[in-house]
């Protein structure tokens, strides 16, 4: 072969607000661990250091993650829809590319979690007849997500296929 064959990144980025959503998630996760440690540390005087030091360490790690990770994730998470397929890239240490052909798509769902709703975001999930074949695009502007779902439904209706 003349050169190396690679997967190109999908063309579209997620909505910018997804970084704020990720930050909120990391923040909540950190708080869930740190706050109980803090409370215990304040209540149980003899073992105070044993609670407050880990709490401080974890809080710093959480804060660093909150600042540094989302921009990194944002560069990796991409998506693309063509007339023939849905194509996404995700994962960080374990990168994952997924391709689902239009002719095999069974359902197109949009889901908005409470936290996502606060940031005006939606998740579009495309499922095929394989339980291992679902493709998710997490973190689109919710209007854009609704349009995308509509477009996907239209394309899949016009694409002949038996889904299995």
């Amino acid at each position: 072969m003349s050169g190396a064959t690679r997967l190109r990144p999908p063309r579209n980025w997620l909505d910018q607000r997804v970084m704020a959503w990720w930050r909120a998630q990391v923040g909540v996760l950190t708080a869930v661990v740190v706050v109980p440690l803090l409370i215990l540390g304040l209540l149980i005087a003899p073992a105070r250091a044993w609670f407050l030091i880990p709490a401080a360490v974890l809080a710093v790690i959480g804060l660093l993650g909150l600042l540094l990770l989302p921009p990194w994730w944002f560069r990796i998470h991409r998506w693309e829809v063509t007339d023939l397929a849905v194509y996404t890239r995700g994962g960080v240490l374990w990168q994952v590319w997924r391709v689902a052909p239009m002719s095999r798509i069974q359902t197109v769902d949009t889901v908005r979690g409470p936290l996502q709703r606060a940031f005006g975001l939606s998740t579009v999930t495309v499922t095929t007849a394989s339980s291992a074949g679902a493709v998710k695009i997490e973190g689109l502007d919710h209007e854009q997500a609704a349009e995308l779902a509509e477009e996907l439904t239209r394309i899949t209706h016009n694409t002949p296929g038996d889904a299995t």
Binding site: G91, V99, A129
Partner: protein, 537 residues
């Protein structure tokens, strides 16, 4: 094998109705009335299993007369309750086959009405446990084989179980619902081609699995449990001490190991004999594969050939070392659990038999050479093995330092650990040797695994998506994993640790037009293609 049954000749509801179930004007049928007797017998046997030790327990404390006075009424009560409950269930269960649907209504207080569209029915499986066989009954499981993952929790509404009907009625339902010519219970129908038949010498492969140790372990556990019930927990320790004094520690260890293995071998032989006795794989006219087997409990599994997406040739380490293999079918419509025996087309049998079954079912010739994977894949596996070895060595060293183990056991432990360490490295090399992928006509072929080596032949048309993944370590080694998603079998089949460039071209070739639009062919000069790509909009 099959018990002669008056209902065998039944070929329709009218004939079946004379054998027990009554039809009313709407075509509703009842389950067979002997179902209640079957339940009674089973509950009686189970109650007896509990009653004997209880009688012994109470009787050794007081007298056996007192014990029986308690136990007998209890058994009678339990059996009576079960029989009445089952009678109520039987009384309120009815089913019918209409031109378009198969319906089952059951329950007295909470009625369940289940209805399957006949055109969607894909499986009609029959099974009969020993008691059911004595009464000439079968349990019929009817399924559409549709996925319920999307539907959510709870029992699958896509399956309908008739427990139980007369054998002849079961066969009639199978033929009717699968739209096949009716086949007599003894399978003498013309047009049925037998693809494989059980050979008792295949039993020799049964003990070559980890089940030998697992079942022996279960047996030992059971022994301790029973001794515990009778208050004799110290017995094994006493016996062991006596034996050690008699013949010495090393000999005792070898003796016990020998007995352990022997128990496991007998158990796996017994299980295999029960499961695969009278095994037969048939192709029926109309495109159905049918597996029939079983010594005590007879089972019949039907697979619609139209839904077969390939086969998987499974060679667990022990079986492979004896030159044998098992064949599983990759199909939509069977239960989602690929580990369940329902998908087994052929039990462990000589490779030539496995190859002929694979050829007959999928039209492939197993055993061809596959494309090898890069040497870095071997390095990865060796690295994992050495890491595990390091942990093992650390544990042994820690034990030696931390606990005052007696010399004898220290030696045994060290020898075992050293054996494991060597085995891990050998397995790593073997796992690399297993890796391979290729295209074979209409099939994608992927092979992997050492302890469980499996070669999947997946129909390229059955591939309904790709998942490509690469971990940080894989990226450094230039490797990539390509997973084909499918509606059949395990739902995903992977080519693991292949060359990161070659495997993409392979995927593009396997399913034309799916992966290609997302591939780029680059000059190898580009140092960081990711960064180059980022400059695109």
């Amino acid at each position: 094998m099959n018990r002669p049954d008056p209902a065998d000749s039944a070929s329709g509801p009218a004939a079946a109705s004379t054998a027990g179930p009554a039809t009313d004007e709407d075509g509703w049928l009842a389950l067979h009335r002997d179902t209640v007797k079957v339940t009674g017998v089973w509950v009686f046997v189970l109650a007896l299993g509990g009653a004997v030790p209880t009688t012994y327990g109470i009787g050794s404390g007081t007298s056996y007369g007192v014990a029986l006075a308690w136990v007998v009424p209890a058994v009678v009560l339990v059996v009576a309750a079960a029989v009445i409950a089952d009678y109520v269930r039987w009384r309120h269960s009815r089913f019918r086959v209409t031109p378009t649907r198969m319906e089952l209504h059951k329950g007295m207080v909470f009625t369940t009405k289940r209805s399957l569209a006949r055109e969607r029915i894909r499986t009609v499986d029959l099974s009969a446990d020993p008691v059911q066989r004595v009464f000439g009954l079968v349990k019929v499981s009817i399924g559409t084989g549709e996925q319920v993952e999307a539907g959510g929790a709870g029992q699958s509404p896509q399956t309908l179980v008739l427990d139980s009907v007369a054998r002849g009625e079961g066969e009639w339902l199978r033929a009717l619902l699968l739209d096949r010519a009716p086949v007599a219970a003894d399978g003498t129908e013309s047009g049925v081609r037998v693809l494989a038949r059980w050979d008792p010498v295949w039993l020799r492969f049964a003990p070559l699995s980890f089940w030998t140790f697992a079942l022996a372990g279960v047996a030992v556990g059971g022994l301790f449990q029973v001794l515990n019930w009778f208050g004799r927990e110290s017995l094994p320790v006493d016996v062991t001490r006596d034996v050690v004094e008699e013949i010495g520690a090393t000999q005792t260890l070898l003796l016990f190991a020998g007995v352990f293995v022997l128990v496991g071998v007998v158990a796996t032989l017994a299980f295999s004999l029960e499961a695969w006795w009278a095994y037969r794989l048939e192709r029926e006219p109309g495109g159905t594969l049918r597996v029939r087997r079983g010594l005590l409990t007879t089972r019949s599994v039907s697979i619609e050939e139209q839904r077969v997406r390939g086969v998987e040739i499974v060679e667990p380490l022990g079986v492979r070392s004896a030159g044998a293999a098992r064949v599983d079918v990759v199909t939509t419509g069977l239960r989602a659990d690929p580990k369940s025996e329902a998908s087994t087309l052929l039990p462990a049998a000589p490779m030539t038999v496995a190859a002929s079954v694979a050829a007959a079912v999928a039209g492939i010739r197993p055993g061809g050479r596959l494309r090898r994977h890069p040497a870095t894949a071997r390095t990865r596996r060796l690295r994992w093995a050495l890491a595990a070895d390091a942990v093992l060595a650390a544990v042994v060293a820690w034990l030696a330092v931390a606990s005052p183990v007696r010399d004898f056991w220290a030696i045994v432990l060290t020898v075992l650990a050293a054996g494991c360490a060597v085995a891990l490295v050998v397995l790593a090399g073997d796992a690399y040797g297993s890796l391979g992928h290729d295209l074979d006509g209409d099939f994608l072929v992927a092979r992997k695994g050492s302890v469980r080596r499996a070669t999947v032949y997946l129909q390229r048309q059955g591939i309904i998506g790709w998942r490509v993944s690469q971990s940080v370590f894989q990226r450094r080694a230039g490797l990539m994993t390509l997973t084909a998603t499918t509606a059949a079998g395990a739902r995903r089949y992977s080519v693991i640790d292949a060359d990161e460039h070659e495997v993409l071209e392979f995927g593009a070739e396997a399913v034309p037009g799916l992966l290609d639009p997302f591939l780029v062919h680059e000059r190898p000069i580009v140092d960081h293609p990711e960064q180059a790509a980022f400059r695109e909009p």
